[in-house]
């Protein structure tokens, strides 16, 4: 029983990270049709930014940890806004070329991170409480899992509030459904593009800082390895659906953890299998639009 609980929370923690990456990916794809390969780079930049702050200002301190979260998110957001404004916008409506540009950006930035921070992982420490465990029904769950879960839930709630209650949120929801009709109502939908990129980048940057604590290290490859699972999550959840991304993130991560433990380390394989099954049964994903 305690193993199940431990796996469940570890899975939830990982699912939280997947969600933080997938939320932005899904919204960006839903609204703009762009598959953003640079999303992993947003995350990695956030993670390294958080690491630099912890390294300079001290690691065992909640205040500094929170500051590193904020600045990591800000770094991701700034990078993402730059990407949209300088590269994506020039290629308006040319989706494949937009993908190619984000791909080139991801190659270039990962190489740059290699050059700046080296290819080996750098280890990170947070507040000492992270390394402690909390006893839940006999399972000793590492505390950093709770931080990830809490952060993801807060981000989810904030995004839902933003989408439901603000005018820009309304524009984004409408744009995901029918972008050209939004412009045909006299709305400059490109502002919404920059906004979703920025929000997605912030979530990824935040996810980067949290991922570095969850895994205990940062490396230039961190973003890329999470990105692939985030892609799977967005496809399973249904492209463009935030709720779908949240559900799929948790399902994928938990499935992965259980398969890794009970089926001899086959977690990644099982996840891809699950993707295949979902595509066969429901090509639009769990909550995707039926085309």
């Amino acid at each position: 029983m305690s193993t199940v609980i431990l796996l469940l929370f570890t899975g939830l923690g990982l699912g939280a990270l997947y969600f933080l990456v997938a939320a932005g990916l899904s919204l960006i794809y839903g609204l703009m049709g762009v598959l953003n390969f640079a999303h992993g780079a947003f995350l990695t930049l956030g993670a390294f930014t958080g690491w630099e702050i912890a390294r300079r200002a001290g690691s065992d301190n909640w205040g500094i940890f929170l500051v590193s979260l904020l600045i990591g998110a800000a770094a991701g957001a700034a990078f993402a806004a730059f990407t949209e404004f300088v590269l994506i916008r020039r290629l308006y409506q040319r989706h494949i070329e937009q993908v190619l540009v984000t791909l080139g950006l991801s190659l270039a930035t990962v190489a740059l991170f290699d050059g700046i921070w080296g290819t080996d992982p750098v280890f990170i420490q947070g507040p000492a409480w992270f390394k402690d465990t909390t006893d839940i029904l006999g399972a000793r769950v590492p505390n950093d899992r709770f931080v990830c879960i809490l952060a993801a839930v807060l981000v989810l709630l904030a995004l839902v509030f933003f989408l439901k209650k603000t005018r820009y949120g309304m524009i984004i929801r409408a744009g995901v459904e029918n972008r050209s009709m939004v412009t045909a109502l006299g709305i400059d939908v490109r502002k919404a593009f920059t906004l979703v990129f920025t929000i997605g980048g912030a979530a990824a940057g935040l996810g980067g800082v949290l991922a570095s604590h969850y895994f205990g290290y940062v490396s230039p490859m961190l973003g890329g390895s999470l990105l692939i699972f985030a892609f799977i999550v967005t496809v399973i959840g249904g492209l463009g659906s935030l709720t779908g991304a949240a559900i799929a993130a948790v399902a994928v991560a938990v499935l992965q953890q259980f398969a890794n433990f009970y089926l001899g380390g086959t977690g990644d394989f099982v996840v891809v299998l699950a993707l295949g099954v979902v595509l066969l049964v429901r090509p639009t994903g769990l909550l995707g639009r039926t085309a």
Binding site: R167, M170, I171, R173, A174, E177, N178, S180, M181, V182, T183, A184, L185, G186, I187, D188, V189
Partner: protein, 268 residues
């Protein structure tokens, strides 16, 4: 149906006098995915009343409307109230005072009725009062998801979105398509009402409705304009109708619906 009796009350005289058109389309061409769907189309919309844009299914009426507001790639000149708009992006054309009611309504199905309307508000003082008077039904369903409305109700939402703002011209694309006869009457009445204050370019298959509403008619065939003039004159000429619309003067068109859907599919 009194307003329809004289659809162009503000046009001084029926003669083709020197009336400055509100919208001029000059040699407009457009492509969808490399296919020429509009070719060298030229016509103008007078500053009052309803102008019908007619032609067979798939002849490029919807594409012409979309090309005017830049929803598809186009070339040629489009002038709105003396200003060229053919280089502007869609949202700016709309902001200049164009109301667009698309074919198939295109309401945001996952937004509520109220949200659909709020999204369309672009004037500082949108005419909510007017919309509430015209469509009392919508007020009652403000909190309902637009996707769950009936076709007629969705058309009301779509019309309301355009009527909320003060426009120089309305582009209305097949507003009665697929609606029950009773609703068709309501839509026609609404359009007649709207036409008192704003000129309308109307794409319409239902010739009864055209007869009831339109002052002028522009007829397209093969992506080109083949006839312009008073609507009544065109509608009274059975040979012209047969030649350009391929139908006899039938109040229930729409037999060609299947091919119509196929064209739409191909275009998307």
């Amino acid at each position: 149906m009194s307003p329809a009796a004289d659809p162009r009350p503000e046009t001084p005289g029926a003669a083709p006098g020197p009336v400055t058109p509100i919208l001029t389309v000059d040699r407009l061409s457009a492509k969808i995915a490399g296919q020429q769907v509009v070719e060298d189309v030229s016509f103008s919309v007078p500053p009052a009343g309803i102008t019908a844009l007619l032609g067979r299914n798939g002849v490029g009426k919807t594409s012409t409307i979309k090309a005017i507001i830049g929803l598809i790639d186009r070339s040629g000149a489009v002038t709105l109230d003396g200003e060229r708009i053919d280089k502007d992006p869609t949202y700016r054309i709309i902001q200049r005072g164009v109301g667009y009611v698309p074919e198939d309504r295109e309401v945001f199905s996952k937004l509520t009725v109220a949200e659909n309307l709020r999204l369309a508000e672009r004037d500082a003082a949108p005419r909510r009062q007017l919309v509430e008077e015209l469509f009392p039904d919508l007020l009652a369903r403000a909190g309902q998801m637009a996707g769950t409305l009936s076709g007629g109700q969705q058309q009301m939402v779509s019309l309301a979105r355009a009527l909320l703002n003060t426009n120089k011209v309305l582009l209305v694309d097949e507003p009665t398509k697929g609606l029950a006869p009773k609703i068709v009457g309501e839509v026609a009445e609404t359009l007649a009402e709207a036409a008192r204050t704003v000129p309308i370019l109307l794409v319409e298959q239902n010739l009864q409705v055209v007869r009831q509403l339109a002052g002028d008619a522009v007829v397209l065939s093969g992506g080109r304009v083949v006839h312009t003039g008073p609507a009544q004159e065109f509608l009274d000429d059975a040979a012209l109708i047969q030649r350009h619309l391929g139908v006899s003067n039938d109040p229930h068109p729409g037999a060609d619906q299947a091919s119509h859907a196929a064209v739409k599919g191909a275009a998307q």
